[in-house]
Amino acid sequence: MTRTQIILTRLVLLGLVVATWELLPRLGFVNPRLLPPLSDVLTMLGQLLGRAQVQEAIWVTAAEVIVAFMIAVPLGAAIGVLIAENDYVGDIFRPMLFYVFSIPKSIFLPMFILIFGIGFGQKVAYAAFSTTFVVIMSAAAAVESVKADHILVARSYGATRGQILTRVYVPSMLPVLLETLRISMIFNFTGVMIAEMYASRTGIGHLIANWGENFQMRQLFAGVILLAVVAILFNEAVRYLESRCSTWRA
């Protein structure tokens, strides 16, 4: 199949999903109270975006996501580099980190509520906590993706430690690091959502949980679409950067 054919097929499939969503409830095959038609949902989304309460929730969620991200990524990257570069630290902490990494982080949520209460701090702390581990693992993998041969080549041409860092480590690690950013944002976003849906007074996750409990399906689906669009946009933005930075990868 050519590239155009693939894109066309994708568009047709998307059209089918949209049409099915619109027509099934309209034609009475599905109860419209369970699945409202897409056009109703989009109209609701437009109305919601105009409401002060929803706008505030969006800002709160965005702030939580950004702050948690800014804590988790540098912290996880520093720990990851440390366990990959320092044999001593690596030998001691690697197994512990792997054990904790395997535990579903949501079971710790009640503890975060006990420590931080219900609010901004609890969301940020929990999301940062659940994201840090994946950043640690990826950053360690990024360091290990640096080839010893390349370091040796640089040394043989008299490179200083600083030059080895900027001219070998950074370009070697960049593709993995960008992927880390992307994946950690997925974990981070998920962390904030879970924390908001579990116990919260505001935020998009809180609104979605409320709408679900109150059977407000149009609002619920509108919230889902909003979140999906934001998440996909971020993901694609980083992917675009990745593809630009790694033209050399075969």
Binding site: K147, D149, L152, S156, P171, L174, W248, A250
Partner: protein, 273 residues
Amino acid sequence: MQHMASLTRLHEVAEPTAIEVARLSHVYAGPEGGVPALEDISMKVAAGRFVVIVGPSGCGKTSLLMMLAGLRHQTEGTILCNERPINRPDPARVGVVFQEASLFPWLSAVDNIEFPLALRGMPKEERRRHAEAMLRLVGLEGFGGRYPHELSGGMKQRVSIARGLVQDPPVLLMDEPFAALDEQTRMTMGHELLRIWSTTRKTVVFITHSLTEAVYLADEVLVMSARPGRIIDRIPVTLPRPRTYEMMATDTFGRLRDRIWQQIRKTTQPGLA
């Protein structure tokens, strides 16, 4: 005519010594005490000579080369290059060509060649001029913009050689540079290397597993023993230069190749010798 330079090598006058290794030994720190890796290695390489080191796997030939490059430190003994000791990498005196995957995949061919110059902070235009000259020397004119994954194995090693030569060091160390290539490419690259050598007149120390390659390239072949590595034979290769593929079928070539093989066999299977 490109071999004129190498013809003059036949009448060797007393050339200055490019590399002098004296009583070099090396002991690795193993989990159960020291493991002797190299033992009492002494060698002298005259300027402009092509010396090949062969030996069984694990005999420490790569370690020896790393020490000649200043990348590793020996436990005992001295290494002089142009009469001054080597104890850390000095790209002005020694260029190194590594095994296949040593090019930086995120740099184009020409940027790879410029890498050593960029480390020294040479201005961009001057760097490019040097790199372009090297591309011409190794027969890759017009391929400078390609990335390593867009080059064949042989072309990648041409780029590596160009990178090793770009600072014009008097000594070039080569660690099994053609080991990953198929046999046909390997033969061509050996021939190309001799052409480049005869135009640049570098002192070359070349490590290989291939006996044919050793005899074909060398002025002198040093045979190393199994660990701990010692030099157990020094075989002057009397074949005239320029070398040709036809020489491989001669008796002299066969006898030299056989002598190396017998030495290696003796050291790896002492019971069968």
